[in-house]
């Protein structure tokens, strides 16, 4: 998780935290800018739950 934490600390668009129960909280910045949809950010949203069961048109 360390690398991911460092990675997201560098971005203002999205902050990810996980609570003691394992619930991931994704907090968007109140101002949307282009970085919100950058490839690495958008990958991060589904990656924690995607695992090996990827189906559909996921291209990330």
């Amino acid at each position: 998780m360390r690398l991911q934490d460092d990675y997201f600390a560098a971005y203002r668009s999205l902050k990810l935290t996980r609570d003691a129960n394992g619930v991931l909280v994704a907090e968007f910045h109140s101002t949307a800018d282009r970085s919100l949809s950058r490839r690495k950010i958008i990958r991060s949203l589904s990656m924690p739950f995607t695992g090996s069961r990827r189906t559909g048109r996921t291209r990330s």
Binding site: K15, D19, N21, G22, V23, L24, V25, A26, E27, F28, H29, S30, T31, A32, D33, R34, S35, L36, S37, R38, R39, I42, R43, L45, S46, F49, T50, G51, R53, R54, G56, R57, T58, R59, S60
Partner: protein, 207 residues
């Protein structure tokens, strides 16, 4: 998983300048590609997703509508600031998400004449599942998450997958096309703005 916003808002504003020249085909091609992917990736989250909305969800409210359940504070409002009023097509998935959740008629009227929509109205439209006192949306979302966590992992995952499938199919069918239309309108808007500013610039030079 919980989707929420910072500082008592969901997403309230947009920084258009961060997008660069949207009339440039290379720029829009990237916006198009990333715009499709962010929605597909939200749709591909394989656990129940709860949106906790406080304040303004005035930009990219479709991200919240890709949640399984939306908990909104009494003072929360939904809106579409960046598109039709600003001169561009609401093609990035906001129509797809709103028409899926609220019905096409409501979605079209909402997006053609965007006005802040209260949490209570969104509840009546079936978009919001629960309206809670201001400042408590995240807490309520955590309570729901704890409740969902009591179900087995495979059940949680497969229920989300099943519930999302119809919306996911619409996203795959509609959002790439919608973003192409949005891109054309954005390029046209830039062109008309440039045309308006040219005579002023010329006048400035000759003066």
């Amino acid at each position: 998983m919980i989707l929420t916003g910072a500082g008592g808002e969901f997403i309230s504003e947009i920084d258009f300048s961060s997008f660069g020249n949207v009339a440039d085909s290379g720029v829009w091609s990237q916006v198009h590609d990333e715009g499709v992917q962010i929605l597909e990736n939200l749709a591909n989250i394989r656990v129940p997703v709860i949106a906790a909305i406080e304040g303004r969800a005035h930009v990219h409210s479709e991200y919240a509508l890709l949640s399984s359940v939306i908990v909104a504070a009494e003072g929360a409002t939904f809106h579409d600031v960046p598109h039709f009023t600003g001169g561009i097509v609401p093609g990035d998935g906001i129509f797809t998400a709103w028409s899926y959740r609220a019905g096409a008629g409501r979605a079209e009227a909402f997006l053609l004449n965007p006005q802040p929509l209260t949490a209570r109205t969104a509840y009546e439209w079936g978009v919001v599942a629960e309206v809670v006192p201001n400042g408590t949306a995240l807490r309520r979302a955590r309570e729901l998450a704890e409740l969902y966590l009591k179900a087995p992992e495979v059940t949680r995952r497969n229920t989300r997958v099943h519930f999302m499938q119809p919306l996911k199919e619409r996203i795959v069918r509609e959002v790439g096309y919608g973003l192409s239309l949005e891109g054309a309108s954005a390029a046209d808007l830039v062109k008309s703005m440039q045309a308006k500013s040219e005579p002023v610039a010329r006048k400035g030079k000759s003066a």
